[in-house]
Subunit: 400 residues, 2 copies
Amino acid sequence: MTRSATALPRKADFELPAGVIYLDGNSLGPLPRGAAERAMRTIREEWGNELIRAWNSADWIALPQRVGDRIARLIGASEGSVTTGDTLSIKVYQALAAALRMRPERRVILSDSGNFPTDLYMAEGLIETLGRGHELRMPAPDQVLDAIDESVAAVMLTHVDYRTGRCHDMAAITRRAHEAGAVMIWDLAHSAGAMPLGIGAIGAEFAVGCSYKYLNGGPGAPAFIHVRPDLVETVDPALSGWMGHAAPFAMEPQYRPARAIERMRVGTPPVIQLAILDAALDIWEGVDLAALRTRSIELSEQFIAGVEARCPQLTLASPRDPQARGSQVSFAFEEGYAAMQALIAHGVIGDFRTPDIMRFGFTPLYLDAQDVARAVDILADVMARDLWRDPRFQTRARVT
Amino acid sequence: MTRSATALPRKADFELPAGVIYLDGNSLGPLPRGAAERAMRTIREEWGNELIRAWNSADWIALPQRVGDRIARLIGASEGSVTTGDTLSIKVYQALAAALRMRPERRVILSDSGNFPTDLYMAEGLIETLGRGHELRMPAPDQVLDAIDESVAAVMLTHVDYRTGRCHDMAAITRRAHEAGAVMIWDLAHSAGAMPLGIGAIGAEFAVGCSYKYLNGGPGAPAFIHVRPDLVETVDPALSGWMGHAAPFAMEPQYRPARAIERMRVGTPPVIQLAILDAALDIWEGVDLAALRTRSIELSEQFIAGVEARCPQLTLASPRDPQARGSQVSFAFEEGYAAMQALIAHGVIGDFRTPDIMRFGFTPLYLDAQDVARAVDILADVMARDLWRDPRFQTRARVT
């Protein structure tokens, strides 16, 4: 069964707290109905009663692949091209290390200055580990296409900018990367579950992402990695752990990579968090991603129009063209940190990103036009009455 | 309050299934009472109700350190020297990469042929990534001490052998490694929670381990890494993710490692599994590890005596000296796989390790002399009546 746009939102699929409008699913998705029960079943029935036997009886061993195949469908990749586990940082490292091995004669990693820091940090760490004089180039996002030349070993970009929501043109950049002989790595952290992606058709060698944002897998949910199908049997996993071995329980002294995508697994998978993610993915069965995208744009446009009409202090920091944005909208405001704290205190949860970005996510699975209208009302009130000047909203928390 | 040996076992602290004697806590510890409730609280109250705010309100951000400090106490390390997250494979990689950077002029990694494969595989992968001609040497375990010479950059060993339970002399090997100018890395997967370790006094630069065995953290529970206190402010984390940054939320373009042990963190921590592990560690409050060790040896000795008296088909594969063993006992039997399946079908859960090892763990937290006597009775019955010849016990499961 396919859910049409009119079948959205699916609020009943989530356990949302009363009195809260949640515009931060781009950072941590809310609790899907069924996730807690699945956790309980995994903990009590599988771990508690089956104990070690659950690796077979509950098929824990296949969970990373099973969940990977479900994510593959959501990013437009084919079965057997995605596996799950670890964190996004680790998966970035694997993809980048593998990419550099595929272009041993080149020395440039091309990213952009707006990329999420951990991707850049992991690249920095890898460069230092390699010690072979690789260079990380970070032009402005709109200069990336022109910066791709024959010196580039790997282009490593995040599709949707975490601050502004600006989308890269994945097809055009991948094409240019391939023309220049570079390997393409897409970070889909802010796009998986936000819109149709068609990563398979785009043909990037690697895609990585996290599952705790739009996929609602819960805090610290495992990451995913996609390898282009023609490469899964030859790609070098770089982090060669026992769960990526061709025969993990043969306990061979030498590493032999698994035949296919399993080789990108590393250590023992986080079974409980994978089970929760698996339950969270149930929500997506039958969701039409094109309809979801349409609705997300409607909600975002409604929000921008409302805020611009009523909050002159805020400046749109996202692209005005909705096709050039992901599923989030950002406004710049010098006192954005305090304003966001005031807004949260009044029941609208978004988040803040340094230096001055107020960030709002629009996820049509659990948001409707009424929510957006109410969020605009509350924000307008916070701004009109300068509620953010209250000193209790000025102190920075440890996590912003 | 310290629990004396006579206060063991603490069966009430675990949710053990009826009719099962669990001798496989060395592979996956059972479900601690309180762990499921803690998971529920983290999922429903923190994730569900607090949503993104829980990073501050439930202090998720500090969880890896808080849990790390609790593990530090169990391995005899000082506060601030342990952090948690990722898998053991990843933590091995970090420790080894850091160790090799500390000895840039040396090219040998010394392990042993009995080490758990993933440690060896990760070393292999790192050597390939580095591409600087490092060599992984794997002498027999009893040849390790003599194999340490001035060419060795890092000695990387697992304290307790996963197959035989044989213990390395950590103090003697670490001393020899340091005399030769090598960096010492101990894998405590099979010893953390099994016996007093005093890793701080031993002075190894690194120790790593997993938390789903004797620490009962659940399937895929996060790993830990200990860095010697005098090195935490200078060690190179190798995998430089945003959670190891000095200011993760400043979103700086360049990596700056956190001042102390936090730098060994990588990506977003698995909050739910960390919370479960935190609950599992409650059991250890006040447990006297010396008393635990004494009782573990009593149980193991009882088991060996019983099996040797009544199962002539089985040959002890563990050291006979209990001081030279961890908390597990192994017997070799050509048809060990089928025999273990038959034993499990009769309510005694141990496990099998290729080629012929029947492995039994003795964890005094939830096992007593009666359990051991009954396990011996059942094993003796399985062997006396050749129950393992039943064809249903011959087919290998995917996970052995």
